[in-house]
């Protein structure tokens, strides 16, 4: 049961992030909600490769062959984090430019822009 709850966490984060994005009144807030939504993917990917009581897949201090968690999910998450960080930076640059030009970050007020 506790194990199942662990999997509920990413689902909850994902839905909460989407809700935050859709109800946002500020582009910076919206971009951070996008990051939150993405963090649900980190959590889920890491969880599916987790193994109770196992070590990290770095066999410097422990012998190869020791029970270890899945190294693939670690690598995937690393890639995912880089993607998330860069997209966030690009979006923040967009938001900065929009604010500089229009003086607002409210999506409703910016509706004419997408015209």
């Amino acid at each position: 049961m506790i194990g199942y709850l662990a999997f509920v966490v990413p689902v909850w984060i994902f839905v909460a992030g989407l809700y935050g994005m859709a109800t946002s009144r500020n582009l910076i807030h919206l971009i951070l909600c996008l990051s939150i939504t993405q963090s649900s993917t980190y959590v889920l990917i890491l969880e599916v490769g987790y193994r109770l009581g196992a070590t990290a897949p770095v066999f410097s201090d422990v012998l190869p062959g020791t029970r270890a968690v899945d190294p693939v999910v670690d690598a995937l998450t690393l890639t995912d984090i880089v993607v998330g960080a860069t997209v966030t930076a690009l979006l923040l640059a967009f938001a900065l430019r929009i604010h500089k030009r229009t003086g607002t970050l409210d999506p409703e007020a910016l509706r004419e822009m997408s015209g």
């Binding site: 989407l18 994005m21 967009f94 430019r97 929009i98 030009r101």
Partner: protein, 604 residues
């Protein structure tokens, strides 16, 4: 050089060239960068074309790092190149090359950003078409996305360009996360990322996990494909993106989403979900038809020519999704041809819009009234493009439509002809309508109370030398689209490629055991005689729509009342397309939930 080595080169060489351009960008003249970038895209075009002809003789598999699978377990990432993927990759390289040639005289001044990002974008598309690994597909989805977002904001002095890029980026990123959640679910179940291996591990049984994973991945890919209600970003991005980029967006990027959906379905899910095909068909046909009609109607209501073309792309996405949803090889073969025919025609039309912007500084149809009088070349190109969108024989779109219709008829779904025909006619008709304004000054006098058009910041040097390159490239695309049916055996080749595309067991043997797939199976193309009637009927309907829009105001009052009904629908749709990015997210969530719940209810 063996075919096996071409696949990574087609992807990696443009990346190296992009890095070189970025590194030397500040120190060399612009033409050097343009020439380098052009060379990179021509290289990829040649490599992908060779690869396509090799793949026709047998699916090409390249294991990166030399990590061949052991005992049915993939250790690394593979490019699994079938003729469809290679042909679409070659098409992406072709459109990129055309767009770069078009851009040669197009920009006033530009740093290295444009060629660099275009090359990265093309490489991402090629990787996206060739990869046989699910997570690698996500990486290329994101790579394609980041390059595209940045390029959309290219005219940064125009804040609507940056806002369009932001909506594009936010909505597509949310779609990417849906894909990634689906991949994580599949990985948790199967411990594999290679598509063939996942399919094998899933077996023939579908439970909640498989169904939701499919729904999430499909919705994420359909965000890229701009299915209603995930489509809002597309019109905003197209309206503001540089015109050469729109050629790629509408010509191949949107279709890449549908290709990937088909690829993922037939390479991963068709075993587990095969028995529920009827349920899937119902859901995707409903969304596909809705997309075709919404796109068509909104297309008809535009006066901004690029936005008009963008909505037409949405309508054609609907047609392609319907082709996918039939789950028949004929329809799939028709889909490949439709993608090529539509991409060429739409590319040519966007280039015409670029010429308008370059020569006259506007793409507003009202503002450009009468401006094409005495300019037969542009007028002719736009007219041919309109007929191609309507699916008139012998354009590539016609052959595609004919095969899709054939698939529908075989399933007893002949009614599907009519919404698709209507959507195609609406898109062709709206381009003809715009042309009537621009070339002949027809149409009702502009409403003085109408909103004034947004001022267009020019993206090019105005009235510079005569842009021969632009005209030449637009002409090449138009002619290529026109001559599609005269390429002997194109329908048969597409059908053969589709037959191999759906053969999952054979794919497993090829990917995991290094078996040879052998040359493409021979599939006879069905006769197209009946389809020719439909094709011309669609064209006539498109002309009728255009005539009604152009001359409807001269009809007697009783008949003019006919205009009121459609006007109400247009108003309602316009209200929904409100340009607020948070609404787009709400629609995305609602669409995903609807598709997911519908699949769950119908399958269980």
């Amino acid at each position: 050089m063996s075919a096996n080595m071409l696949a990574p080169l087609a992807f990696a060489v443009p990346l190296v060239v992009a890095a070189v351009c970025a590194g030397i960008g500040p120190f060399v003249p612009r033409r050097v960068l343009d020439a380098l970038a052009f060379g990179g895209s021509v290289f990829s075009l040649a490599a992908c074309a060779l690869l396509a002809s090799d793949a026709a003789q047998g699916t090409v598999v390249h294991w990166f790092g030399g990590w061949e699978p052991r005992h049915g377990i993939a250790l690394g990432i593979a490019f699994v190149v079938d003729p469809v993927g290679a042909a679409l990759a070659a098409f992406a390289a072709f459109l990129t090359t055309a767009a770069m040639a078009f851009a040669w005289t197009y920009y006033d001044e530009s740093g290295p950003a444009f060629p660099v990002l275009m090359l990265v974008f093309m490489a991402a598309l090629i990787g996206f078409f060739l990869t046989g690994d699910l997570f690698n597909l996500f990486v290329f989805f994101e790579l394609m996305g980041v390059a595209a977002y940045a390029l959309t904001a290219y005219r940064t002095e125009d804040e609507s360009a940056v806002m369009g890029a932001l909506s594009f980026a936010v909505v597509n990123s949310a779609g990417a996360f849906l894909i990634l959640l689906g991949i994580a679910l599949l990985y948790g179940r199967t411990g594999a990322l290679n598509m063939a291996q996942i399919a094998h591990a899933l077996g023939g049984h579908a439970d909640g996990l498989v169904l939701v994973a499919f729904a999430f991945i499909a919705c994420g890919l359909l965000v890229k494909a701009a299915l209603v209600p995930f489509h809002f970003w597309l019109a905003d991005a197209h309206a503001v993106a540089p015109t050469p980029l729109c050629v790629l967006f509408s010509g191949i990027m949107v279709q890449a989403g549908i290709y990937a959906l088909a690829r993922v379905y037939w390479s991963v899910f068709s075993g587990a979900l095969g028995e529920h095909e009827t349920a899937l068909r119902g859901v995707f046909l409903a969304f596909g038809v809705a997309t075709a009609l919404v796109g068509g109607i909104m297309c008809f209501a535009q006066r901004h020519f690029k936005r008009l073309l963008a909505f037409s792309t949405i309508a054609h996405t609907g047609i392609l999704v319907c082709a996918f949803a039939l789950f028949r090889t004929q329809a799939l073969g028709g889909m490949w041809l439709y993608i090529l025919g539509h991409g060429l025609a739409k590319g040519a039309l966007f280039m015409c819009s670029g010429i308008l912007l370059n020569r006259f500084g506007s793409v507003d149809v009202e503002e450009l009234r009468n401006i094409l009088r005495g300019r037969p070349w542009v007028t002719g190109a736009i007219a041919l493009g309109a007929l191609a969108l309507a699916g008139m024989p012998p354009f590539g779109t016609f052959v595609g439509t004919a095969l899709i219709d054939d698939g529908a008829r075989e399933l007893g779904l002949s009614w599907l002809h009519f919404p698709l025909l209507l959507a195609a006619a609406l898109t062709g008709g709206s381009v003809l309508n715009a042309l009537g304004h621009m070339a002949f000054g027809w149409g009702p006098p502009p409403d003085p109370h109408a909103q004034t058009p947004k001022h267009e910041t020019t993206e090019t040097k105005k009235n510079g030398g005569f842009p021969y390159a632009m005209y030449a490239v637009a002409a090449v695309l138009t002619l290529a689209s026109f001559s599609a049916m005269f390429v002997g055996g194109a329908p048969a080749a597409a059908l053969g490629a589709a037959a191999r595309f759906v053969d999952r067991p054979a794919q497993l043997a090829v990917v995991m055991n290094g078996a040879s797939s052998g040359p493409l199976p021979h599939v006879a193309a069905p006769p197209l005689t009946e389809a020719i009637v439909y094709g011309f009927a669609t064209t006539l309907l498109a002309m009728a729509f255009a005539a009604f829009a152009l001359f409807g105001h001269r009809l007697p009052a009783a008949l003019a009342a006919l205009r009121r009904g459609p006007a109400l629908i247009v108003e309602a749709l316009r209200a929904v397309h409100d340009g607020v990015v948070t609404d787009y997210i709400a629609w995305l969530a609602a669409g995903t939930a609807t598709i997911g719940v519908a699949l769950a209810v119908l399958v269980r």
